[in-house]
């Protein structure tokens, strides 16, 4: 019998701490598979964020650094500038990247920093218990928007990929989703493309991955994927936002 599919060696044996049905695990796997398939394990450095993925350094089987909240792009910059041959990626959630780290991601992008950013957008702060995120949808109930996000009071969600795509620095930006197998396969291609962009030295690459948070959305894993498809994708259209040949 031939192996059709098995867990990549780029993930460690440590069981993931994520809640049942949380799609962080899928995204971890796709990133790990991309590193594995591209044969870049021995020169890859990952930068973990603060948030649900804070323990990412325990899961990716490569050298890792853990950054302060929102600062992963700055840490990645320092790391990459020292060893430009290393492949450096950050893995960041929406609170980390789009709120407290808005300056760091914007400037890393506009510098065309030759790093890869995996941006996990689940429209909520997961680790701290379901507070409103910069990407929370209008009307979405969270523990700090208990009456639903009111744009008149706290503004509108940020479309990070579109915003960063207006800059001259980025070489590749796309938004993908992991709510079904087809989209997971597309997400994998996009993540691979982002790493290839870095390997080719083209500059900054970012893949925004729409992700489900059943626990803090108050849904079953199945309901959460449906909610993602029906509510998040209209707000955050999928597709390649920028690609420099």
């Amino acid at each position: 019998m031939a192996v059709v599919y098995e867990k990549t060696k780029l993930l460690t044996d440590k069981p993931l701490h994520y809640c049942p049905g949380c799609t962080h695990g899928i995204i971890h796997r796709l990133v790990a598979e991309a590193i594995d398939e591209l044969g870049i394990q021995e020169r890859t450095i990952g930068i973990a964020p603060v948030g649900c993925a804070v323990f990412a350094y325990d899961y990716f089987n490569c050298d890792m650094m853990e950054a302060a909240h929102g600062r992963a792009p700055a840490v990645a910059t320092g790391c990459k500038r020292v060893n430009p041959k290393n492949i450096v990626f950050t893995y960041q959630g929406d609170g980390d990247l789009a709120s407290i780290g808005a300056a760091e991601i914007t400037h890393a992008a506009t510098r065309g920093e030759n790093i890869t950013v995996i941006f996990v957008n689940n429209a909520i702060y997961g680790m701290t218990g379901g507070q409103m995120a910069p990407t929370t949808l209008p009307g979405q109930v969270t523990t700090t928007s208990p009456y639903g996000r009111d744009p008149k009071l706290c503004g509108y969600p940020i479309r990070v990929s579109e915003m960063l795509a207006t800059l001259d620095g980025p070489a590749y930006i796309s938004r993908v989703s992991v709510h079904d197998v087809k989209h997971i396969l597309d997400a994998k291609k996009s993540i691979r493309k982002a790493f290839e962009t870095q390997i080719a030295g083209k500059g900054f690459s970012l893949v925004e991955v729409l992700s489900a948070c059943p626990t803090n959305w108050g849904m079953t894993p199945q309901e959460a994927l449906k909610w993602l498809e029906q509510n998040m994708i209209p707000q955050y259209p999928l597709g390649v936002k920028k690609e420099v040949e």
Partner: protein
């Protein structure tokens, strides 16, 4: 020793860092330290493997330092008081992750935006860690441009030796002043540990463990153990790295304690007092942390009183009092807001003590 040059303190520090093998600098403009990033931006791109980057903020700059230090490089950042406050988050993480780096603070008046004139009002912040959590940094306080050069060079070795950031605490005067300076030739220390912990790329069987640069220890018992380990390093720093300069303390009735620029003024005051027949002495801490408590305690056995002089409302004076342990009175004289104490003011203070029979 190399050729004697006339250099501004800020530029001399930058060149000294390069001579010490620093190839990476991340900073953000703020007065009065701008000549450091400016100098680095000129020099580093001309050196193979060198990189200067102007960050989007002090916060980003210190996190770039984290990334570069985590990758094993000799790296530096510099700023002045409000900018150093912004860097505190990153400094705390750097200490937690045990990364070596050198940070320069050309202190200006505060609180808040304060002024751009010289001050020493960041003493508490510098010597008590500065950010959140239990930690210390080695704090070196030069009082001349030449000493700034020598301490900067050594700072990189000390940072590597202890895997801890080293802070050079100057003030606007040290940074802006021009003085003749010689660049010592770099003597490489042979006892520095190899950076086998650095994140440079790993695969199974490559001869080292997978690198994880991290300050998160979610298990309280593990974090306590980690902090205890940090404190063992601090104990070693206290044993090995405490530095100070003493002048005429053996027979001194009145001992002035001052550091940095203020110590130079205090030295002139001490000489004037001696000329006037008052037995004054001077203790100048060179490391603000670890604080040179021993020479102060020793002088306290015979001195009638201490006078601590600072460009602040009185911060180091608390360490002097801790060292004296009530053996003799400890007085304070300070100017703040960017005003530098004068020789006359210090002389008057000590004369008043002498007249009062204190």
């Amino acid at each position: 020793m190399g050729q004697k040059m006339l250099m501004k303190g800020n530029e001399a520090i930058a060149e000294a860092a390069i001579q010490a093998g620093c190839r990476f600098f991340f900073g953000y403009p703020i007065t009065p330290q701008n000549q450091i990033p400016e100098y680095m931006s000129k020099r580093l791109p001309k050196i193979e493997g060198g990189c200067f980057l102007q960050a989007e903020s002090e916060v980003a700059a210190i996190n770039m330092v984290y990334g570069a230090a985590g990758a094993g490089a000799r790296v530096m950042t510099s700023s002045s008081s409000p900018g150093i406050s912004l860097k505190q988050e990153g400094i705390s993480y750097i200490v937690g992750a045990e990364l070596p780096c050198v940070i320069v603070n050309m202190v200006r008046g505060g609180p808040g935006l304060g002024s751009i004139q010289p001050a020493q009002s960041d003493y508490f912040q510098s010597t008590r860690g500065g950010g959140h959590g239990d930690y210390r940094m080695l704090v070196l306080a030069p009082s001349s441009v030449q000493e700034a050069v020598e301490l900067t060079q050594e700072a990189f070795d000390l940072a590597d030796l202890y895997r801890n950031p080293v802070l050079i605490m100057g003030d606007g005067l040290i940074g802006q002043m021009m003085e003749p300076v010689e660049m010592p030739e770099r003597k490489e220390r042979k006892d520095l540990p190899a950076k086998t912990w650095a994140a440079t790329g790993w695969k199974p069987g490559c001869g080292r463990d997978r690198a994880v640069i991290n300050s998160l220890y979610i298990d309280p018992a593990v974090l306590e153990k980690h902090v205890n380990h940090l404190y063992e390093k601090y104990a070693a720093m206290e044993r090995n790295e405490c530095r100070w300069q003493e002048e005429m303390t053996e027979d001194a009735d009145y001992v002035i304690v001052a550091y940095g620029t203020t110590a130079r003024i205090a030295r002139s005051a001490m000489r004037k007092l001696r000329e006037a027949g008052i037995k004054a002495g001077l203790i100048r801490p060179i490391t603000l942390w670890p604080f040179p408590a021993a020479p102060i305690a020793k002088a306290a056995k015979h001195a009638k009183a201490f006078l601590t002089v600072e460009m602040s409302m009185g911060q180091m004076v608390e360490d002097v009092r801790l060292a004296v342990e009530g053996a003799t009175p400890v007085h304070f004289f300070g100017r703040t807001g960017g005003i530098v104490p004068t020789v006359r003011e210090i002389v008057n203070q000590v004369e008043a003590l002498a007249k009062g029979g204190c």
